[in-house]
């Protein structure tokens, strides 16, 4: 599965780089992450709850950072395994300065998926992964804003990571708007949003 | 099996009180707890319809429901329709029209048809095919099933 995209961060490159290399922030940016710890300079290990439609479970995995050119680019290799299957992939991230002290992130990656995730979750994989990525990047951006403000004002600004339920709702909204955009069938979209929100919140609240 | 739940359920007009695991599927409850093996399991994800039973008169997928969700409700399975010496009129029509081959999907189709024929006494071919479009059959190609339903409608209203 190919993943490609761009994201505009509201802050300078150096701070974005800091945040991307900070396991504590990463852990909160992606809810579902149970733990994420640095085990060496370039290696992280962690556990994450992943849910794609009816398939979900705990994944444990490793992330290895390589080819670092701070604050410009890096390569990330991910390997995760869990009851719902396995995931293996490589991603390349490039940060370029943009207007008004913002940063343009470009990312591209290749992901291999296997097990139940692949055989039953296929139809939803694309939209859910796009959404997960967007939510994660939005959270990182919030963390970035908080850090930038504190640096400017000298006060500590709190960064609040989204709760699981909020996260789920956002994913649902994204998936539905994906569907709406391509099909322009409003009532299906509304029903889908409602259904998915209810479904995901119920499941997550029992997780 | 951990926590148990006191289930009170009526199946084929008999009241049952049983202690069940909350995650026991209704299909497994009917088949293995009550020994009513006429309801069959084809997919356990709600698509094939082989497990269809009536829940307060409405056809549902028993593989997608927990037994505890049917607490206090009325379930009807294929065993409520008839027995080999005394067939229900729909069963008789299926026999006469060769509406089954391996018979695995048949109970699910019969239970789907019970409310359908009650509400549609003179269905046309299109209506019949739509009514059973939620029941997969791999053997018959559906044609003799459609013939059987037409025959059943005739038998029921002659």
């Amino acid at each position: 599965m190919k993943i490609e995209g761009e994201y505009l961060f509201d802050g300078p490159r150096e701070v974005v780089w800091e945040i991307v290399r900070d396991p504590d922030i990463l852990a909160t940016a992606l809810p579902g992450t149970q733990s994420l710890e640095k085990i060496s300079e370039n290696e992280y290990q962690g556990e994450m709850q992943v849910r794609i439609g009816p398939v979900g479970g705990l994944f444990s995995g490793r992330v290895v950072i390589s080819d670092e050119i701070p604050p410009e680019s890096l390569t990330m290799t991910v390997e995760g395994k869990g009851k719902p299957g396995f995931v293996k992939g490589t991603g390349f991230i490039k940060l370029s300065p943009a207007e008004n002290s913002k940063t343009q992130m470009q990312y591209q990656g290749d992901l291999e998926v296997g097990g139940r995730l692949a055989s039953v979750g296929q139809r939803m994989m694309d939209s859910v992964s796009k959404s997960l990525l967007k939510q994660g990047l939005d959270s990182l951006n919030q963390a970035l804003l908080a850090r930038v403000s504190s640096a400017e004002s000298g006060e500590v600004v709190d960064y609040e990571a989204p709760s699981e339920a909020q996260f789920a709702a956002s994913v649902a909204k994204d998936m539905a708007s994906d569907a709406l955009a391509s099909r322009k069938v409003w009532w299906i979209g509304a029903a889908v949003v409602l259904l998915i929100i209810i479904l995901v919140i119920v499941i997550l609240s029992q997780g | 099996m951990s926590d148990h739940y006191q289930l009170s359920i009526t199946v084929n007009d008999t009241q049952y009180q049983r202690e069940v695991d909350p995650r026991l599927l209704l299909s497994d409850f009917l088949r293995h707890e009550l020994g009513l093996t006429g309801t069959h399991i084809g997919c356990e994800h709600g698509v094939c319809g082989a497990c269809t039973v009536l829940y307060d008169g409405l056809p549902i997928r028993s593989c997608l429901m927990f037994a505890v969700q049917a607490d206090g409700h009325h379930i009807l399975t294929v065993e409520s329709l008839g027995n080999p010496e005394n067939l229900h009129v729909i069963q008789q029509a299926f026999w006469d029209a060769h509406g089954l081959q391996c018979g695995f999907c048949t109970p699910g189709i019969l239970m789907t048809l019970v409310p359908f024929l009650e509400n549609n006494p003179h269905p046309d071919e299109d209506q019949i095919r739509h009514a059973i479009s939620g029941n997969l059959c791999r053997c018959t190609g559906y044609q003799h099933i459609v013939d059987a339903v037409k025959l059943a409608a005739e038998y029921m209203h002659s």
């Binding site: 055989s119 | 006429g38 084809g42 399975t77 089954l100 081959q101 391996c102 791999r138």
Partner: protein
């Protein structure tokens, strides 16, 4: 005497099936029964570094966990090949069969690695998640063509490559014919995998009774006797210590054959090991990669014709995907070869077959079993030739049919039964003309089609003749017995999965003994009742088992006449069997019931003469020297929705010639079911794998089985050319419905999109794929 063969008789088995009173494997419930669940590989190709089952063993309710390691010396590699390699010179064949549990490495997604046995299925499935496996993922062989690349990873490390088999077959001299051809058409044809997807998944219950040293196995198998023999051999038991019962089975279609799947080895072993009954029932997802599939082939094909459209030769070089193992030998590709010249007189033929291993579930016959691929090949080439030569597609076929005087017709290549392929009998032209008339072919081509198209409809017509090799040996047997009650009991070794054996076979007996069909009770598929035979597959039940039943019923008839002649004091020629009685013709009061006759034949006093047997019973066997060739024609008119590219089948006509028809009601049902599967294979069903051989649509939500809204009304007409190869004159028909459908879809769609010049060289299709093909045509006119 009343006739029973050929009558539309209601089925004996239906009342039990209709009321939910028929026993299927999952209905078996034994005291003390344990439940098994298999941990299957998520990887298509990986080394097994370590397996830790300690946590699983600690889960309450878990009784045992086994892996290949834990089994130790009791783990023995694979079952034997179901069918050995054929007796052709210069053949390469590497036999690699499946394993009871994976050892060292896994070779396909779904390969069983460990088995958990617990007090309930729920606990067993929970415990699967407690098992920790360390995999070392390996490069995957996912593509049938890349399998033979020099750098391709090896599915079997002890081989030099992923070549499973290589074989060349020839008739005549294709190269010489090529020099004389006016037209040469060359195309590449690709066919992809589908699943049989019977409504009932597989399942096994095994019960080892230590005190009587006897093992009973209920198995959703189409071939209980070979399973019994295999299990007995594996466990070191006498065959008589093992009873395999194939009760009512919810659809077979091929994959429930005598594979000796890993589960068929493990579950009986577990019961003996644990001393308790053990049950395993497959779930639908497991079925998608734990039960065999097939159809994947790639052909580079060529056809030679004269300017008049006469076929001079057909040649194809093809790849066949065997999956991770090759237990079923070359049966499927041999069938493809047997049908690659269709129903036509082809003087020169050349085939080059390469079978490869890939990291996917292994393949074994599914309804059609390689025949659809062969028919697709020849019919596509012929349609393309017809266009090039400017000849009508029906006309070009009529010019090439094997004429009736040419039978028996030699194809001069060997078939799946390792015999020289000979078509025994047939009369093709009138059957095609019957089909063409029924569908209104001429009228559609000349008037109706153009008119509808002028009105803006996208419509198309197709007509495809095909042959089906059926009724192969080695043999089947049956025992017929008249009981003192007057009921006739019959036993045969084949299993039944919905084909109506309990009725059609009873009709064969009824014809001999004059007993009403409802008074004839059959047992099929129970090795305790009859233990010699092969199984239900390859459209052979009615032919082989049917004729064995006919033979034994005839012997019983002989015994009846002999004894009745003595008791009624009348010559045998004057006796009639009717309604369960033996009567003297013209003197109906002189009669005796068959039941009373049976009692007389089993005296409690006196002596039975030496050389005679008590009772009115006989056992007989039938082994055809070669298979009988059935014939059929399918024709269809479709309309394609221009926006959605969904296909509506407006009319579907079948003319079926399977020789003597036992029960037209049952035969029609078989044809309908086959056509429905064919339609699925053409436009809705496809197993989709990614480049890591991960199956992406392992559920009915994503693998689309046609519903009642996709299958049309099918008009079936019968044409009868009896087979000279067996006394009943029957030919098989079980697979016929599925065989020509992909070729028919391709032809009809090309006809519908003739203005765009659409050419279809692949199956299955789908609305998406049709859209892509049309776009390609539009962008490069």
């Amino acid at each position: 005497m009343k006739k029973y063969i050929g009558e539309r008789i209601k089925r004996n088995e239906d009342p039990r099936l209709l009321t939910g009173q028929a026993l299927f494997v999952d209905d078996v419930d034994l005291p003390g029964m344990l439940y098994a669940a298999f941990l299957r590989s998520d990887y298509a190709h990986a080394r097994l570094i370590s397996i830790d089952v300690s946590e699983a063993l600690q889960r309450p309710g878990v009784v045992a966990v086994y892996t290949a390691e834990i089994m130790g010396d009791e783990w023995q590699p694979g079952p034997a090949n179901v069918s050995p390699p054929p007796t052709v010179e210069n053949i390469t064949f590497h036999s690699r069969t499946q394993l009871p549990l994976a050892k060292g490495k896994v070779r396909h997604v779904g390969e069983p690695i460990a088995v958990v046995v617990a007090e309930s299925r729920y606990i067993a499935e929970d415990a699967l998640e407690d098992i920790l496996i360390e995999f070392e993922p390996l490069e995957v062989v996912a593509d049938i063509e890349k399998a033979l690349d020099p750098e391709a990873p090896l599915v079997h490390d002890d081989l030099d490559s992923n070549l499973a088999a290589y074989m060349v077959q020839d008739k005549g001299d294709y190269q010489a014919a090529k020099t004389k051809a006016d037209v040469i058409i060359k195309r590449r044809i690709e066919i992809d995998r589908g699943a049989a997807a019977a409504m009932e998944n597989r399942g096994i219950v095994a019960n080892w009774e230590a005190r009587s040293q006897h093992l009973t196995v209920w198995d959703t198998t189409q071939a209980p006797i070979p399973i019994r023999n295999g299990v007995a051999s594996r466990l070191g038991l006498n065959q008589t210590q093992v009873r395999v019962i194939a009760p009512y089975i919810g659809g077979g279609f091929g994959p429930k054959m005598m594979m000796h799947y890993p589960e068929e080895i493990m579950i009986p072993w577990l019961s003996v090991k644990l001393g308790r009954p053990v049950k395993w029932i497959e779930d639908r997802r497991e079925n998608f990669f734990g039960t065999t599939q097939e159809r994947s082939q790639v052909h580079d094909a060529e056809i030679l014709l004269s300017n008049e459209g006469k076929i001079l030769g057909i040649s194809h070089k093809f790849l066949h995907d065997s999956g991770a193992y090759d237990p079923y030998g070359l049966t499927i590709p041999l069938n493809t070869e047997s049908h690659a010249a269709g129903a036509y007189d082809v003087p020169n033929y050349h085939s080059e077959l390469t079978v490869v291993f890939t990291n996917k579930m292994y393949t074994s016959p599914i309804r059609g079993a390689g025949r659809p691929q062969g028919i697709f090949l020849v019919e596509r080439l012929l349609d393309i030739a017809a266009r090039e030569l400017g000849i009508d597609p029906l006309e070009i076929r009529l010019r090439n049919l094997i004429p009736p005087e040419a039978f028996p017709y030699d194809r001069e290549i060997i078939d799946q039964a390792f015999a020289l392929l000979t078509f025994d009998s047939g009369n093709y032209k009138p059957a095609i003309e019957m089909a063409a008339e029924k569908i209104g072919y001429e009228q559609f081509i000349k008037e109706e089609g153009p008119r509808l198209r002028a009105e803006g409809h996208t419509v198309g017509i197709g007509i495809i003749p095909f042959v089906e090799t059926t009724g192969v040996g080695p043999y089947e047997g049956a025992r017929v017995n008249i009981e003192p009650s007057g009921k006739v009991t019959v036993a045969t070794g084949v299993g039944t999965q919905g084909q109506g054996h309990f009725t059609s076979f009873a009709q064969i007996v009824a014809e001999q003994l004059g007993v009403p069909v409802s008074d004839i009770d059959l047992v099929t598929g129970d090795s305790a009742d009859f233990h010699w035979g092969t199984g239900t597959f390859a459209s052979r039940g009615a032919v082989v088992a049917g004729n064995a039943i006919h033979a034994s019923a005839s012997i019983v008839r002989g015994k009846v006449l002999k004894l009745a002649s003595k008791l009624l004091n009348a010559p045998e020629e004057e006796l009639e069997l009717e309604d369960g009685f033996v009567r003297v013709a013209d003197l109906p009061r002189l009669s005796i019931s068959l039941g009373d006759l049976a009692a007389e034949a089993n005296p409690l006093r006196g002596a039975v003469e030496p050389g005679t047997e008590p009772g009115l019973e006989a056992t007989a066997y039938f082994g055809p020297k070669s298979g009988a060739t059935a014939f059929g024609v399918h024709a269809m008119i479709i309309e394609v929705d221009q926006e959605t590219l969904m296909v509506e089948i407006k009319r579907y006509v079948v003319v079926e010639d399977c020789g003597t028809v036992l029960n037209p009601l049952i035969l029609d049902g078989q044809v309908h079911g086959g056509v429905a599967m064919g339609i699925g294979n053409s436009y809705y069903e496809q197993l989709i794998f990614d480049e890591n051989a991960q199956l992406l649509n392992a559920s009915f939500a994503d693998y689309l089985i046609p519903t009642a809204c996709e299958i049309p009304n099918i008009e079936v007409a019968h044409f009868v050319t009896p087979s000279p190869l067996n006394p009943l004159g029957t030919k098989g028909a079980g697979e016929a419905g599925a065989i020509p459908v992909p070729a028919l879809f391709a032809q009809a769609l090309e006809n519908a999109f003739a203005d765009v010049g659409l050419e279809i060289l692949e199956m299955p299709l789908s609305p998406n794929r049709l859209f892509e093909l049309l776009q390609e045509k539009v962008s490069q006119p």
